[in-house]
């Protein structure tokens, strides 16, 4: 896996809601090499040492001309720092990192995103949905958090939304949508992709196994872990595998076959 450490110009940086931002940089090497599901490590404090570590963000989309975009939520010190960068400034970005989602025929997949976990799924849908249609299920806490719906719709994807408070779409959890999708769809797609909170992905995995059985459940999940390096040298980013081993999210992942993961 080839990756690059570039000092990239910020081409645009837009606040989409209270705490969600869309960042676009010019990084042709990364744009060219990137595959859906991969991520970058971004230095958010310039030359200063606080915050010290880079922050991992999924590649949200790549654009003609060598642009790469990230969709992120401000949750702490690092993402707050990042949000203060302005178009025209430069950012140190290392990527593309990690493995990627397997690309399958669009009519056979369902993409499932929870919260800011939708970020990498647009890129995935773009690569998959080219010439096809895809089913996309999105879950959010409330209307404020909803994002990327038009992105998926532009790709002619069938996009269903659930919000916990019912302020948009189905009132309830994304698993409700998924159960319905599985039950009312005899012509069931074979491949599922998810990204979002661990608990959500766990619930999705359980549901799919429950409904389809271990053998027919093909689920690729994208996991998060605290990362120092992003390139497999620090051993910090582990998640536990079903066989007891530790998997390194930055190198063995972030995309995993759900069967490999210990869903505790």
């Amino acid at each position: 896996m080839e990756h690059f450490d570039v000092n990239a110009l910020i081409s645009s940086h837009i606040q989409l809601s209270q705490d969600i931002f869309l960042l676009q940089i010019h990084a042709p090497y990364i744009a060219f090499a990137a595959k859906p599901g991969q991520f970058c490590m971004i230095k958010v404090s310039g030359d200063a040492n606080d915050p010290l570590l880079r922050r991992p963000l999924s590649i949200h989309r790549v654009h003609d001309g060598g642009f790469v975009s990230f969709l992120y939520k401000v949750i702490g010190k690092g993402t707050k720092c990042l949000s203060e960068y302005k178009a025209g400034e430069k950012l140190n970005v290392l990527g593309p990192l990690g493995n990627h989602f397997a690309i399958r025929p669009a009519e056979k997949v369902i993409i499932i995103g929870g919260g800011i976990g939708v970020a990498p799924l647009v890129f995935l849908a773009e690569r998959i949905a080219f010439k096809h249609g895809t089913t996309v299920l999105l879950g959010f806490r409330n209307r404020e958090d909803v994002c990327c719906v038009e992105d998926f719709e532009k790709l002619a994807a069938r996009t269903l939304i659930a919000t916990e408070d019912g302020s948009l779409g189905h009132k309830g959890l994304i698993t409700d949508l998924l159960r319905e999708e599985i039950m009312h769809n005899p012509d069931l797609p074979k491949y599922f992709y998810t990204c979002g909170p661990f608990g959500m992905q766990k619930a999705i995995n359980n549901l799919i196994i429950e409904e389809l059985g271990e053998k027919k459940a093909h689920l690729e999940v994208s996991l998060e872990a605290r990362m120092a390096c992003g390139i497999g040298v620090c051993m910090s980013c582990v998640t536990q595998a079903r066989d007891g081993d530790y998997l390194h999210v930055c190198k063995d992942g972030p995309v995993f076959n759900a069967k490999k993961i210990l869903w505790k």
């Binding site: 690059f4 010290l52 570590l53 990362m227 390096c229 390139i231 051993m235 910090s236 582990v238 081993d245």
Partner: protein, 300 residues
Amino acid sequence: MPDLSIKISSLYLKNPVILASGTCGYGIELKDLIDLNSLGGLCLKGISLKPRPGNPPPRIHETASGLLNSIGLENVGIDRFISEKLPLLKDYDTCIIANILGDSAQQYIELAQRLDAHHDQIKAIELNLSCPNVKCGGIAFGTDPKLISQIITGVKKVTNLPVIAKLSPNVQDIVPIATACEESGADAISLINTLLGTAIDIFRKKPVFNNIFAGLSGPAIKPVALRFVWQASHAVKIPIIGIGGISKWEDAIEFFMAGATAIQIGTANFFNPSASVQIIQGIKGFMRKMGYKKIEDMRI
């Protein structure tokens, strides 16, 4: 043109910049990002006799200008290290240093013996002496001059490779420990390993790490590391390899002036993978500008 090369007993390094153990994996992972041939050396991930799975997550926690880690010395073990990892570095022209760790003096000796057979590739052995000594109730080897002497003497008997004793900073006085290393035949001393620290997850009301304590590294610890290097280099004659919070060439110069013969870059590799290469350039530029011919000329 300044000469950046240095010698540590029989070990020749083209420049004094080494990547620190545990922060450059098995070396090969960095090949896309930096020219490994430009480095003085690579100190690989600490190796034990048996593979070690390491600690459960979370394994890291960020602090102000610092990083707490509790990796738990995860490594593939000496067998896979020799069969799978070492061969990948065959074609690189940099000095490979193996870092080893054990539960007992015997384990260090056995590891050194195994590595000695690969002296075509491995050019030195660094002993991580900050590990808890299982036989002595878990006290770190690094705090007891007698235990350290025992390990070094034993290791020196089974290998002709230069032996570097890597010391823990969690001691009151480094001088007796550094002296013990010198007297028992260590070819060099590297310091510091991480400072013992901790962090609490206030919303879960428990320590962030399962083991409660973790090791602090990064720019935050540089002033402390520099103090240890100063103290050790004024106490012994063997070369000192300075480690701790080095992220810029200016930091490296401070260590040389405090008495270090070489330096290792650790945590900086994480937030700036090019740090080592930039530091080599920076050292060169500074020496040229100030008229220093050799690294040792900078020593105060």
